[in-house]
Symmetry: C2
Subunit: 921 residues, 2 copies
């Protein structure tokens, strides 16, 4: 038995005397000094909010006086569950300073000091922590305020808010208890919104709230402002240990021992008259990134009113007209803060009796379009470096420039019918077609927009998929055939929608209550996985966005990793090149075999037992393949083109076993039930044909096809086939070279696991290549290499490198074999459960498993380059377009990643990010 090591909380040092736990907003330098001048550590000590308020104070920006109780104080409290005297002592001193600075006083009903008490951790933890506003109010202060001319409704609304927040935050009274009182009161008054309630209503409500607290907790709402503050501070400390906070930290990987700071700040009010206002503003346009201050405000209002949308806000330009001085001051502050933080700011302000106060500033959220424009503008303004600009744009943001998207308004008003796996982003609208032939016919002959819907797709559905605007399946996972092909061609796709019941025979599908017939319109969003009824309107963003192009240009200057593309057809190659691809890292020759006029030849090759007929079939594929390669070489003139030899098991080219079995059963029943001999003959001949196919399919069928007779194994068993492919490659290359095109073919042998496989196959193929070049009388620069897609190939990479001139990691297959997971099965099975339960931190088919597979790849790179330091190493397959995986590839020293054309720009940026992350780590 192993006794699990239990970590015991070591008792904390309790010598807290002399420690500074409270910093006024104007003491930021002292905080900096304490932590050695590191701003990140200041944020750790004071929390994000507290640090920024102090920072603005230093900058001379008008900030209401206040102070911050440090995270250290919080941790001290949490270690003993007693409010430390020293902390409270320092808070009292700080309050006295605030009183002095504002001329207001706690407990002075003539000129009362009201403060807010807010949590503020180092990292933003939305919705987790608690706030108490209006501390300092009590019956006496409220009455005096009204007497002094304060608006009675405003004063008691403020008061009831204090009582409500105090009750729920400090003493855990369920907020519903309070809300139900307000609801009743609205009903009693016959009004619909809180804004319509009167001063009398709020006076009564405040009273009722106090009674609720008394009843539920047995305690009186404290009259003493100091008591209010102390209890509120303690409650904020405690909230760090709340369930919501713990869960959030666990999910966001935030350490449990950081603690929260507490910021206490003088209240200001924008709703004290016509010389008051409140508003929010962005220092630049958050949608477009245009460099202009913009925002909304309300005269004589509170911050909440702006956000809540109860009143019609005014654009900020109006403030310029109404309060030119305050506006000018704000505009200057906005510029100052932008310059200081070197980023677009999201600010809150209040004008109390003509005086401007900043309540908050932080980096503003923005669209991808705004992100790239602001980044580029700020470089030109000299605010940030190019590196900084590149770093700010996230690879995922680039994605939005590449796919059509639904109009957000249309999305709101449409009927969502299901959600599946969002495997290939983009918006698609079309009529439902239930098979590839129908999809193709409708699209090409009738010019319809089609969405192909299938239980799952197979390679011989590709023509239909190509013709469709979108793909929807009820089965399959993130890397199912449908998903792979869809991403490859940038076709939006949603897969694995399990609630989809497709009745292929009746040509309809049922999703919950919705019945959809073939030909009906649907819309799907491949980015969110949502499926809608009918046609949603879309908007197509423009990839020619000059700001984006500039960012990518700068990314190219930074990155060292090349970005290649996976492309099987010239049109993909051209697109990828436009997007910046520096080569083709994977051309899958088998995709060409599935084209409708070729498949019968391929099937003939497989079905015949006659060697001569087989040879004849293979030979007739030669000119077709040669043409394919010519197109690719032309498109990639001057760049390398890696062509993978035939990979899938042969049975993939034949009808499926299940289909044949079912067809045969049907035919046999027909045979029994038919009467006319002529009909019987026809049925019998169909049975004979299908039986022949079935026999061959049975012979080729494998228990685990993924680990079966494919890749180089096929090449060794049927050398004529791969020799034909190599002949086609070199005939095409010679022809192009003669026409002045710079061809750089690289022939890739798939699925090797033992060096002898590579040796045997490469020897045979290289002699074919030499033969063709001799015949054509021209020498081409070429390479032979191998996929590294079995663990053994990686483990013996030193041996492989004796023959291979390049490696290309096939991380899809490697992930399957390293984990022992069949992706076809797992992604609609236990993997979902694993991800939900956190057993796997992320889907290894999306992001390379760094700990396991990463270690194996590292070994392979090291072994491969041990005696061949110039060995070209890349990665093809799904992970090549994933930013986290790209970072790993950069760290491992790979030469390139290869991804689908639509991910090329993303990969360019991610590769630059990898360099920058390396620099700063």
């Amino acid at each position: 038995m192993k006794i699990s090591t239990q970590q015991r909380a070591s008792s904390r040092k309790s010598s807290h005397k002399g420690t500074r736990y409270v910093y006024r907003f104007n003491q930021v330098e002292e905080a900096e000094k304490k932590v050695g001048g590191d701003w990140d550590k200041v944020r750790g000590l004071l929390g994000g909010k507290g640090a920024n308020l102090a920072d603005m104070t230093r900058l001379g920006v008008p900030v209401c006086p206040g102070f911050t109780v440090t995270t250290e104080a919080c941790n001290l409290y949490l270690s003993g569950n007693v409010f430390p005297d020293e902390v409270w002592k320092q808070q009292l001193a700080a309050i006295a300073d605030v009183e002095e600075a504002t001329g207001k006083k706690f407990t002075d009903s003539a000129n009362p000091l009201l403060v807010s008490c807010r949590s503020g951790a180092k990292f933003s933890m939305p919705g987790m922590m608690d706030t108490v506003l209006n501390i300092g109010l009590n019956d006496e202060v409220a009455q005096a305020w009204v007497k002094r001319g304060g608006d009675e409704r405003f004063v008691y609304d403020s008061y009831r808010r204090l009582v409500q927040m105090f009750g729920s935050v400090v003493w855990d009274v369920p907020d519903e208890s309070f809300e139900s009182v307000i609801t009743e009161r609205r009903e009693g008054a016959g009004v619909r919104s809180d804004a319509e309630l009167s001063a009398r209503d709020w006076i009564a409500t405040t009273k009722e709230f106090k009674d609720i607290i008394q009843t539920q907790t047995g305690k009186e709402f404290p009259v003493d402002p100091y008591q209010q503050l102390k209890l509120a501070t303690e409650a904020v400390f405690r909230s760090w240990r709340g369930k919501r906070a713990i869960d959030y930290r666990k999910a966001a990987c935030i350490p449990d021992d950081l603690g929260t700071a507490v910021t206490i700040q003088t209240m200001v009010f924008g709703n004290m008259g016509a010389d008051c206002a409140t508003g929010v503003a962005m220092s630049r346009n958050a949608s477009t990134g245009e460099p202009e201050l913009e925002g909304d405000f309300l005269i004589n209002a509170q911050g909440e009113d702006v956000v809540a949308g109860i009143r019609q806000t005014e654009p900020l330009s109006e403030l310029k007209r109404l309060m030119p001085n305050a506006y000018a001051e704000f505009e200057a502050i906005s510029r100052q803060l932008e310059n200081h933080y070197r980023n677009m700011q999201d600010m809150e302000f209040t004008i109390e009796k003509g005086k401007l106060w900043l309540l908050q500033t932080r980096d503003g959220k923005r669209t991808a379009q705004a992100e790239v424009r602001i980044a580029v503008d700020m470089v030109e303004e000299g605010l940030i470096s190019k590196e900084e600009a590149v770093k700010r744009v996230q690879p995922s943001q680039v994605d939005t420039f590449l796919h059509p998207q639904f109009d957000p308004a249309a999305r709101e008003t449409s009927q969502l019918i299901a959600t599946g796996l969002n495997v290939s982003p983009g918006a698609a609208v079309g009529v439902v077609a239930f098979d590839a032939d129908t999809a193709e016919r409708w699209a090409t002959q009738e010019g319809k927009d089609v969405i192909m819907v299938r239980p799952e797709t197979k390679p011989d559905d590709v023509h239909g998929m190509l013709a469709s605007k979108g793909i929807l399946t009820s089965r399959g996972g993130r890397t199912s055939h449908a998903a792979l092909v869809a991403r490859q061609f940038g076709t939006p796709a949603v897969v694995g929608v399990i609630e989809l019941e497709i009745d292929l025979e009746a040509r309809k599908m049922q999703v919950g209550d919705f019945l959809i017939q073939e030909g009906d319109w649907i819309s799907l969003d491949g980015a969110s996985g949502e499926v809608f009824l009918d046609q949603l309107s879309t908007e197509i963003p423009d990839f020619s966005n000059p700001y984006l192009l500039k960012i990518l240009e700068w990314a190219d200057e930074i990155r060292t990793l090349q970005v290649w593309t996976n492309a099987d057809y010239p049109r993909d190659a051209e697109r990828a090149r436009k997007y910046g691809a520096q080569g083709i890292g994977l051309c899958r020759t088998e995709h060409m075999f599935f084209e409708s006029h070729r498949l019968p030849i391929v099937q003939r090759m497989i079905m015949t037992k006659d060697k001569a007929e087989q040879k004849e079939a293979i030979d007739s594929l030669l000119p077709l393949q040669r043409e394919d390669f010519e197109g690719l070489f032309k498109a990639m003139d001057g760049l390398p083109v890696v062509i993978r030899l035939l990979d899938p098991p042969l049975h993939e080219f034949l009808p499926s076993y299940d289909e044949l079995i079912e067809d045969l059963a049907d035919l046999k029943i027909q045979l029994y039930t038919l009467k006319a001999p002529g009909e019987k003959d026809s049925i019998q001949s169909q049975i004979d044909e299908k039986s022949t196919y079935l026999e061959r399919v049975k012979a080729l069928r494998e228990v685990n096809p993924m680990l079966g007779t494919r890749g180089v194994r096929l090449g060794i068993l049927i050398p004529e086939l791969t020799k034909m492919q190599v002949r086609a490659i070199f005939e095409a290359a010679c022809k192009c070279a003669k026409a002045g095109i710079d061809v750089q073919p690289e022939v890739m042998i798939p699925l090797t696991s033992h060096v002898n496989e590579l040796k045997v196959q490469q020897r045979e193929l290289e002699s074919t290549a030499q033969e063709v070049m001799a015949q054509e009388g021209i020498e081409i620069q070429y390479k032979f290499g191998t996929m590294i897609e079995t663990p053994r190939a990686a483990l013996t990479a030193d041996e492989m490198a004796e023959y291979a001139e390049f490696f290309s990691f096939g991380t899809n297959d490697l992930t399957q074999t390293v984990f022992g997971i069949s992706r076809d099965d797992a992604e609609s099975g236990f993997l979902i459960h694993y991800l939900q339960e956190g057993i796997l931190p992320e889907n290894p088919f999306t992001t390379i498993d760094r700990v396991g597979l990463g270690k194996l790849m590292e070994m392979a790179v090291k072994l491969g380059r041990q005696d061949h330091p110039d060995l070209e190493i890349g990665i093809c397959g799904e992970h090549g377009g994933d930013p986290a995986s790209i970072a790993l590839c950069h760290q491992l020293g790979l030469d390139y990643v290869s991804c689908s054309p639509f991910r090329v720009p993303i990969a360019r940026l991610a590769a630059a990010h990898a360099v920058l992350a390396d620099k700063h780590s």
Copy 2:
């Protein structure tokens, strides 16, 4: 383009003057001096034959004078293709010495010297090299010999042999040319054997042979003995480069640059009268190992006559009576040679006119029974050490003590009908049964010996397999289900007999011309893969052989690696313990699920969608499993028992998809063709039932089940199931412990690939274990651990070792994932081709792939023990019983190997060999 590095033969140093190329038999010390006293190098210089003849000469054993031309001379010749003068000069000097020693002379027809010229390489290369006898004969010498009283027939028979061997060996005349002359002559004389031909026939034949040489080569047979010798020597040199020799060396991994030596020795003749004899003898009995000289001889005969069996030989004891002096001398020499070589000797001798000559001695071939007895006897005689004795017995020899074998005579006379893969050794005789139920019924109810014949077997065939004497399948490979189960139970099996056409419906099979009905007798030999018609008689060797037990006892003293066993049932555990197992390394709990009274419960558990019903099914398995474990703990009292939790995918417990599809198709046809409504109802209800099964099987079906929902994945999805198993284990353990049995349960979690799987499952199961022990009020020592059977588990073994208290390598699955090879498919597919073509040096499912998988295992051991040096590590599965794999496990520092009971003794010996190999390397 990579220019393949071409090794150029560096031109050899030609300063051969002063080098010694010829050693007389009495110059062995000089040869030893040259190579620094290393006998292995003497063999390298003089070849095996030349070295031993020189060695015997030194020992004073009567050896006819002669000398050896070194392998260096051969290499010198081969580097220039010219006979080096220096070599020939030294040969001439040696001939002169032989002439002096024998008093005979080349070219002296009155007293001619005749010699043989034979090749002799360091390593025996059977059938490859060439020999020329009777060099020195020509017309003149022959005639003079006859005149001197030599037997004319004998002299001319000898002469024609020289001409024939010279023609074919030296000048490449096809031997058929010579043989057809002899055939014609026999026909002309009307006799059937060469022995009946007369002196006149041989005189004429000799003449004709010379004419053939003249016609075919344009050259005259050389009269000069020196010329004969020089050309013969050169021919032997050249034979090193012959195609046969090159092919053999390639296959046997013998380096090409060793060269062959040439031994030239005076001829002696045992056929010169009644005082002459010739014979062969073994210094001990080669069948039983008894320490007595035994052999055969003939008076007045040649060596060939003894071997050819033309004349009835006499037992050696008769020589004692006929030639007591010669016999006594030979007996003494036999003892001397045994003492010298410390091994049983296989000797050839000739007595020429009363004088004994030894022609050859070498270590004798023997049966396994003789091997162990001789080894033990020689230790007791003080000839060899225990270590040497252990080293001499090969693990494969131990195998023959464990399985019944066919009587060799019966095998000779029986009809062989096919040969398949020899997957489980032993002889089996029985009547053919084509399904498991029939096999079981015939065996248990009718007491028949049954051989179960299936296209392939499935887990639910196990009851039939258990009841059968042997298993025969037409499909499947070396590690197919049939092979695995057969080896597990020591049932002889032959699988993958592709020419077997089984017609299950007609209950018959066709093999070539043979038609076998169900119930017919066949016999199969699992050691050779042969299948015979009818009943062959068998003999059962006894494992209680005291010599074998002694060898294994000595092996146990030497080895450091423990040997555990794979056992699912108490009877296997008992057997394995008798064979020396030190624990159970793998108990596969799922095998228990397949038993006929349990399978329905298991199916109910899988089929139901109702959680409560599922729970009820699982609960009713609990007492059954508990009983299983009780039996195992009792059998292994005091030894560890590793129990693996449920591993296979659930669909393995249901009828197969194909079967259901076919049944349903048949039933539907019946439905259409039947007339009576009653019948229809019955068919319809069958259809409904099968359809329900089919639906569930479809839902569970996986594209690659090997990489699917099995092992710990099942445990995590259905924790109730593994918790029930753990409860059963601990309830059984507690009960046994209370009864005074020393229980050491180790619970093994299969197919982990991420540490979190282990963490989650182990936490859940360990709490069940604690719960049971608390209920029972007793503490048991136990371990939790994991299989290492995915590459990722191995790569992250450091993480795994944080939770697992033991590792067990599942090298079957690891081989599949490391290579990316599905064993079910490959062993009847491309793997065969790979092994035939030498693409893979050996079947990785038989012997652990040292280069790839070995490296991964080494990593895992190192990582696992990095922070946990005492981590228990073993291997279970097929490789655990393979000697080469056991050697690897020893080198990697594993604690134990676990193998099927029948391989335990083999593993014990192999583990000792691993220690000895380590010592001497």
